[in-house]
């Protein structure tokens, strides 16, 4: 190829109309992601002096409490009133060790750096009084494009838990195996599960059955109020 031909292609590429600004919906999505990350970061920073070894030590001390909590869920079964109260600081981040870490494959983006190894991330310690009953549970994977099917699978598998017989209206944070999230408002009969929506940390709420259907809502982890997606599924389990 001659230099002139190379130059012709270069000019053709350079003359391509500009891509334009980032679309507002993408801006909104990425800003929400950043806010989510900042909230995570703040939650971690809120635990003064907490170190990995501190957390490990505290977890070792709390195993009896953790086992009681786990047994309660197992005996009562999902969907029965395991309550929020009583999840004091002793229960925070319960079972997050045994649940394992984030299993996603490290992406090329994650590998990229200006050199140096990536810092180890300690498990966020959770907020004072945060409910821990989701900490050992699965983080269900959801996708916008297959949300209805994904939610039906969660419902069919009994993978969402009722946390309370009483309405939850406070903005508590709950511990999960990949950090903490703000708990959405819940009513009696509602069920909840830690989730990821398109790889973004979120909380799935299955509203109680009405008229043979259940409304499923997916809330942003950062505030528990921003509705990311919703769908409706048959109530049968």
């Amino acid at each position: 190829m001659t230099p002139e031909e190379q130059e012709a292609v270069r000019r053709a590429l350079a003359a391509t109309p500009p891509a334009g600004p980032m679309p507002p919906e993408v801006v909104a999505r990425l800003e929400a992601t950043i806010a989510d990350l900042a909230a995570e970061s703040s939650a971690t920073a809120e635990a003064p002096g907490a170190t990995v070894s501190d957390l490990e030590e505290r977890r070792r001390r709390r195993w009896p409490g953790v086992l009681v909590a786990a047994a309660s869920v197992a005996v009562l079964g999902y969907g029965v009133g395991a309550v929020l109260q009583g999840s004091g600081p002793d229960a925070e981040t319960a079972m997050s060790d045994s649940a394992g870490g984030d299993s996603r494959a490290e992406s090329g983006a994650d590998r990229s750096s200006d050199g140096g190894a990536a810092p180890q991330e300690a498990d966020p310690p959770g907020a004072q009084g945060a409910p821990d009953l989701l900490a050992g549970g699965a983080v269900v994977e959801l996708r916008q494009e297959t949300l209805r099917r994904d939610v039906a699978r969660v419902l069919g598998g009994g993978r969402a838990a009722a946390l309370s017989d009483e309405p939850v209206t406070t903005s508590k944070r709950y511990a999960r195996r990949d950090g903490t999230c703000a708990l959405p408002e819940l009513g009696p009969g509602d069920e909840v599960s830690a989730a990821r929506l398109d790889d973004r940390r979120a909380t799935l709420v299955l509203r109680r059955a009405e008229g043979g259907t259940r409304v499923a809502e997916v809330y942003w982890c950062g505030d528990g109020r921003t509705l990311l997606a919703e769908t409706e599924v048959p109530a049968r389990r």
Partner: protein, 216 residues
């Protein structure tokens, strides 16, 4: 009078715990990062996904920024890596059925360039952009990224080499090979050459010699 912190100032503020610093850094560069992601992946959804991957990585790994390159170069590197990751996965997905239908696909050509385009019809920016994106889509991911950064976004070979984590000679080589492949596809778009129509590209069935690179 307010003085906006520069990029390095925002990095320092982020590392010091300022919850707004990373958002400000992102806002400052988002349109250029979007352009790179969109042109490298060729798909708005995939570009948004790649940018999200990259943002998460950059936010969490900011400590690894050592200040040797400009912050924007570092950000571009992370974004391009995320895009290349997705392009490679896409190529693998595409490559899966090749043994059965490679001949058929080669006959069809790329969907967006399935017929010879009359340059008279390539009137709008939209069509022109689509044609370029379809042509870029025939390239190996690394060539595509090099051409997007150098020829379309105007970065220098040196900057691009830093972003792509390779030698400048490799960038030049990738650009030259990429241009050679694009020449017949973009002939109708070259300024000053409005008559020659772009040709139907044979779909790359893999195993091309373009993987060879020259590092100087």
């Amino acid at each position: 009078m307010d003085h906006e912190p520069d990029d390095r100032g925002l990095v320092a503020a982020h590392l010091a715990g300022d919850p707004d610093a990373f958002g400000a850094l992102f806002a400052r560069h988002r349109d250029r990062l979007w352009a790179v992601a969109l042109r490298t992946t060729g798909d708005p959804e995939e570009a948004a996904d790649a940018l999200q991957d990259a943002l998460v990585a950059a936010f969490r790994r900011m400590e690894s920024y050592r200040g040797e390159a400009a912050v924007t170069t570092w950000l571009h590197r992370i974004v391009v890596n995320a895009c290349l990751d997705r392009l490679r996965r896409r190529k693998v997905r595409r490559a899966d059925p090749l043994p059965d239908d490679v001949d058929e696909r080669a006959d069809r050509g790329s969907p967006a360039t399935a017929s010879t385009v009359d340059p008279a019809e390539v009137a709008s920016d939209h069509e022109r952009r689509d044609l370029v994106m379809a042509a870029l889509d025939t390239l190996p991911p690394e060539q595509r990224a090099a051409l997007v950064l150098v020829d379309m976004e105007g970065y220098s070979v040196e900057e691009t080499a830093t972003m792509l984590e390779c030698a400048p000679g490799t960038v030049k080589s990738r650009c030259a090979r990429g241009r050679a492949r694009l020449a017949p596809l973009l002939a109708g778009l070259a300024p000053g050459n409005p008559e020659a129509p772009p040709r139907v590209p044979p779909l790359d069935a893999g195993g091309s010699p373009d993987g060879e690179e020259v590092t100087r």
